[in-house]
């Protein structure tokens, strides 16, 4: 099957598949989008207010560039740096600890699949505010091994993101016929690292990306554990500064939102195409991912 004929099939099937019309889609997304934009707009408006006078001013924004106020924002920059570091380490925990375990269970221990799923949804049953009570002594112990630097908090965050990361990865892994794919690859002589790197991971790209998205978003928004373990992250820093200067707090909340949004958009962009590959191949690969089985025959050397 060639890429172009597959694309054709897909386009035709979309017409049958009861996808909404352009108008319906526009209406739904437009209305919901507009309602969801209101609080953001309100925050922007608030950041320009001149106290309670009813007028508007730029001083809250220009004040950010004032070198005199740099000291005032030090806690915010620290919080932001800490949160970005934590996000990176947490994604690492998800991709290096959770993902290999999930693939291993899917391929070799099908009976453990339910056990793994059960473990991964436990953090929902055990909310952060419950966990934090028991985390305090654990962190006293961990501090003895790793020191008390901020990144160790990512171990706890890895647990917090577990249900979300698991769900996104599993919906990809479950829809994939991983056993058939890997057995086919193995029977064609591929080594396990090859199966993993060239067969499974490319097929799991969407799940991996989605899991990383949500992990980063969870970590940048985390407040409960950091504040109750007395660590500094973005959220605790914003709360701290809101008490002295609410306008700056709102501005930073806006900037943080924008940053996260752009970051995730960027990750999505980079992920949807292979670096250096022309656009056309990407589209064909995209179609391939949805129909893995016929494509496997393509890989068989004739």
């Amino acid at each position: 099957m060639t890429g172009s004929s597959q694309r054709g099939t897909q386009r035709r099937s979309l017409a049958v598949s009861a996808a909404p019309s352009r108008l319906t889609r526009g209406l739904i997304l437009g209305i919901v989008g507009a309602v969801f934009a209101i609080p953001i707009i309100a925050m922007i408006e608030f950041s320009f207010r001149d106290g309670l006078s009813g007028g508007y001013t730029f001083t809250h924004w220009t004040g950010l560039l004032d070198p005199d106020s740099a000291a005032k924002f030090r806690s915010l920059t620290t919080g932001l740096t800490n949160s970005l570091l934590l996000a990176a380490v947490t994604v690492g925990v998800v991709l290096l600890l959770l993902l290999p375990t999930m693939i291993l269970v899917q391929l070799r221990f099908p009976r453990l699949r339910r056990v793994l799923e059960f473990i991964c949804i436990i953090p929902i049953t055990v909310p952060a505010i419950v966990l934090v009570v028991g985390l305090a002594p654990v962190y006293r112990f961990l501090g003895g091994i790793f020191g008390s630097s901020i990144w160790t908090l990512a171990f706890a965050y890895g647990i917090t993101v577990l249900p979300y990361a698991y769900r996104t990865l599993q919906s990809n892994l479950g829809a994939l016929d991983a056993i058939t794919l890997s057995e086919a690859a193995r029977s064609l002589g591929a080594s396990w690292p090859n199966v993993m790197w060239r067969v499974l991971l490319p097929n799991l790209r969407r799940g991996i990306l989605a899991a990383s998205f949500i992990s980063v978003a969870v970590v940048l928004g985390e407040f409960t554990i950091a504040s109750l373990l007395s660590r500094q992250n973005l959220q605790t820093a914003i709360l701290l500064i809101s008490k002295s200067d609410p306008y700056v707090a709102v501005i930073f909340a806006l900037l943080a939102l924008l940053l996260v949004f752009l970051l995730l958009l960027l990750i999505g962009r980079v992920g949807s195409r292979r670096p250096g590959a022309p656009r056309r191949i990407t589209t064909r690969k995209q179609t391939r991912e949805q129909t893995p089985k016929p494509d496997l025959t393509q890989g068989v050397p004739s």
Binding site: R25, F36, T125, G134, L264
Partner: protein
């Protein structure tokens, strides 16, 4: 499958057929041990950072501050005041979960025909990831700026339409004030958790339906509906759990009183140094977890039905 089909056939298939089974069996036995070893890092991680802290948190419920066994903390859960908090937590979670699930599913439906790697899809997925975790402090700020006493919407309604949304008193810093902020993070979370299920709908099913003369309505009523139902209710339960355990938004909005259970826990945690109610937090945590276990058991049953269609 791979970019380089030749890589799959690195080992030439030249080995005699007779020695294959033996080699394969030996290799499989060795692989089994390696596989089991491969599970240990994750197991150890979960034990140390999930099982251990949870155990510590829950066992404190059964001890008094002197360290001897007691049921007094657990009995306090049935105090009418504490029960009221549980009821409040329950209805606010249920309400926001239902509204969030319906609106979120609607957005997922709207995205159904969009190209999976298209700009629209990417945009909405990123926005959802951000907004679903737009909890806590920032969300509280946003709603104070929107429907606070001097908020944008409040003052617009007052000056343009003469409507005072706070005619019966300021409810934003009370329990009802949590409803809108909670819905604000529930809808995007629904988009994130429910979208993969819609992606799992195979184009062939729609084709088969069309070939057999089915209409769009038949497709939703008889094929997509039943297949998506477990995933939908599963996501709904996730949303409920999400709201029930949410702490940061409430903590930032409601400064006085402990209207929902997580705020009660905060109160108990803070007061533990002052009043010596060291183990009340553990008892509240226990009560919370009992509710969560019921919800999650139902979720797990639904999930069993969902995965039936994922192969």
């Amino acid at each position: 499958m791979t970019e380089n089909p030749g890589a799959l056939a690195q080992e030439p298939p030249g080995a005699p057929a007779a020695c294959l089974p033996v080699r394969r069996r030996r290799r499989r036995a060795r692989g089994r041990v390696t596989s089991i070893l491969g599970l240990t890092p994750f197991a150890f991680y979960v034990l140390a950072l999930l099982a251990l802290p949870t155990g510590i948190a829950l066992t404190t419920a059964f001890f008094d501050s002197a360290g001897s066994f007691t049921l007094e903390n657990v009995a306090t859960l049935f105090d009418p005041l504490i029960l009221d908090t549980f009821v409040s937590s329950f209805w606010i979670s249920a309400l926001t979960a239902v509204v969030g699930a319906v609106l979120g599913a609607l957005i997922c439906y709207a995205l159904l025909g969009a190209r999976p790697d298209g700009a629209l899809r990417m945009m909405i997925e990123s926005a959802s990831s951000v907004l679903a975790q737009f909890g806590g402090v920032m969300l509280a700020f946003a709603f104070i700026a929107t429907i606070g006493v001097q908020g944008l919407v409040t003052s617009l309604l007052r000056s343009q339409f003469g409507i005072d949304i706070f005619a019966d008193g300021v409810w934003l810093y009370q329990l009802p004030g949590l409803i809108l902020p909670y819905i604000y993070f529930q809808v995007p979370l629904m988009v994130i958790t429910f979208m993969p299920a819609l992606d799992g709908l195979k184009a062939q099913w729609a084709e088969a339906n069309a070939t057999l003369g089915g209409s769009t309505f038949t497709y939703w009523r008889r094929i997509a509906g039943p297949i998506l139902a477990p995933a939908f209710f599963g996501s709904l339960l996730l949303l409920f759990a999400n709201a029930f355990s949410s702490y940061a938004t409430a903590a930032a909005l409601i400064s006085q009183g402990s209207q929902i259970v997580p705020l009660q826990i905060r109160g108990a945690l803070i007061s533990e140094t002052v009043l010596g109610r060291a183990n009340m937090a553990g008892a509240l945590a226990l009560g919370m977890i009992v509710v969560m276990i019921v919800v999650m058991t139902a979720y797990s049953i639904l999930q069993k039905r969902t995965t039936r269609w994922q192969r």
